[in-house]
């Protein structure tokens, strides 16, 4: 991994972050809803298919983010953070990035090991082959468990992570959330609107 960059998040990283956040939250809700008992079976079938399609998009985006981290380096923590905060935020971000890969991979493993043998037909356009794994009830149960556990862990971590972002914004009143929203002002002091950036 390259050395952290100090110049904040680019528009690509920002889009990737919010797209990914929306996808992950949507997929958890969808995953939870489609597993409910008493759901209409035809609806359940299509929800599963949408879940797999969007889940694979999430996997591709997560892969892209890790690739960007490796190729371009991660963005250095916002200035003004203490050592513990830097460590904690870096660890959280790495873990979030990692879980965003593991969760959909485990989901793909469920689809690849289930004895239901339902093809994964990405948005009814492209057949996605199963991972080379043996199908069995045991393997399906195992990967289902991994997928659910990691997914809800990801949700919990994302909640903590959002709480931290909101804490910085509303309590600390620093630029941590703003730089992920594309604003470059990282000045802890409120800048009058007509003065613009100090740089």
């Amino acid at each position: 991994m390259r050395k952290p960059r100090d110049n904040g998040y680019g528009i690509g990283e920002i889009c990737l972050h919010w797209l990914m956040a929306g996808l992950v939250l949507g997929l958890v809700v969808l995953g939870f809803a489609m597993r409910r008992r008493g759901i209409d079976p035809a609806l359940q079938f299509s929800l599963y298919q949408w879940h797999k399609s969007f889940g694979l998009i999430a996997l591709a985006l997560a892969g892209l983010r890790v690739f960007l981290w490796l190729a371009a380096g991660r963005v250095a923590p916002a200035p003004g953070l203490g050592v513990v905060e830097r460590r904690a935020s870096t660890a959280t971000h790495l873990l979030l990035g990692f879980l965003c890969l593991v969760v959909p991979l485990a989901g793909w493993a469920v689809a690849s090991t289930t004895t239901l043998n339902i093809p994964t037909f990405l948005f009814n356009l492209v057949v996605i082959p199963p991972l080379p794994m043996a199908r069995s009830a045991g393997a399906e149960a195992f990967w289902s468990w991994v997928h659910a556990t990691t997914a809800y862990t990801l949700l919990a971590l994302a909640a903590l992570h959002s709480a931290a972002a909101l804490f910085h914004h509303f309590v600390r009143r620093d630029g941590v959330l703003m730089r992920m929203l594309g604003r470059r002002t990282i000045d802890p002091v409120d800048t009058p609107a007509n003065e613009g950036s100090k740089r």
Partner: protein, 194 residues
């Protein structure tokens, strides 16, 4: 060993039965004439192909029916058949539940699928085509099945029946296009003369 015995039995049965095809060849149609009950040894198999290869394969274990072979004209013959979708069997219990559910057969509300022939037409020495009305989920459509005589021995008669049914016609098209619209039937019908 068991296979060899079976094969041998099949051969002898074939030699006895096949040269005496019912339709036009010996035995005369009159020999096959009669009313038959469909027996439980019949096999009602179906499959639905899926995108990317493979298929769902299943069968029905509960069904009933009878047919009448007219001694003077095959065209005057008829068949009626009922199957109970609750008895659907596949390799996967969850798939069976899904097929029985409101998504597919809705077996609670529509416990039977019925077929009543409307026309029988001979197409070859031992083949015929049967037209009829198929009712599933309360919806009735005309369907066609191909019939091949496999043998006649005493009061026992055997046919192989094949046909394709578009499930969308019966509001059973859940899962398309992952699963194709067409359901292929391959049935071994065994009848015993009353």
């Amino acid at each position: 060993m068991r296979y060899a015995t079976l094969a041998l039995a099949g051969l002898t049965l074939g030699q006895i039965l096949l040269p005496q095809a019912v339709f036009s060849k010996t035995p005369e149609l009159s020999q096959a004439a009669g009313t038959y009950n469909i027996t439980g040894t019949s096999q009602i198999r179906f499959w639905v192909d899926q995108v990317g290869g493979g298929s769902i394969n299943g069968r029905f274990t509960k069904f009933s029916g009878r047919f009448r072979i007219d001694g003077r004209s095959i065209g005057a013959s008829s068949i009626s058949f009922t199957l109970y979708p609750q008895s659907v069997a596949t390799a996967e219990g969850r798939m069976e539940d899904f097929l029985r559910s409101s998504a597919v057969f809705h077996a609670d509300a529509y416990p039977t699928v019925t077929f009543r022939s409307t026309a029988v037409r001979q197409t070859g020495d031992d083949t015929a085509v049967v037209d009829g009305m198929l009712t599933a989920r309360g919806i009735t459509h005309r369907e066609q099945f191909s019939v091949r005589l496999q043998g006649l021995k005493g009061n026992a008669i055997a046919f192989n029946v094949t046909g394709n049914v578009y499930r969308s016609r019966y509001r059973m098209d859940v899962g398309t296009p992952i699963y194709l619209n067409v359901v292929k039937f391959d049935m071994d019908i065994r009848g015993v003369r009353q």
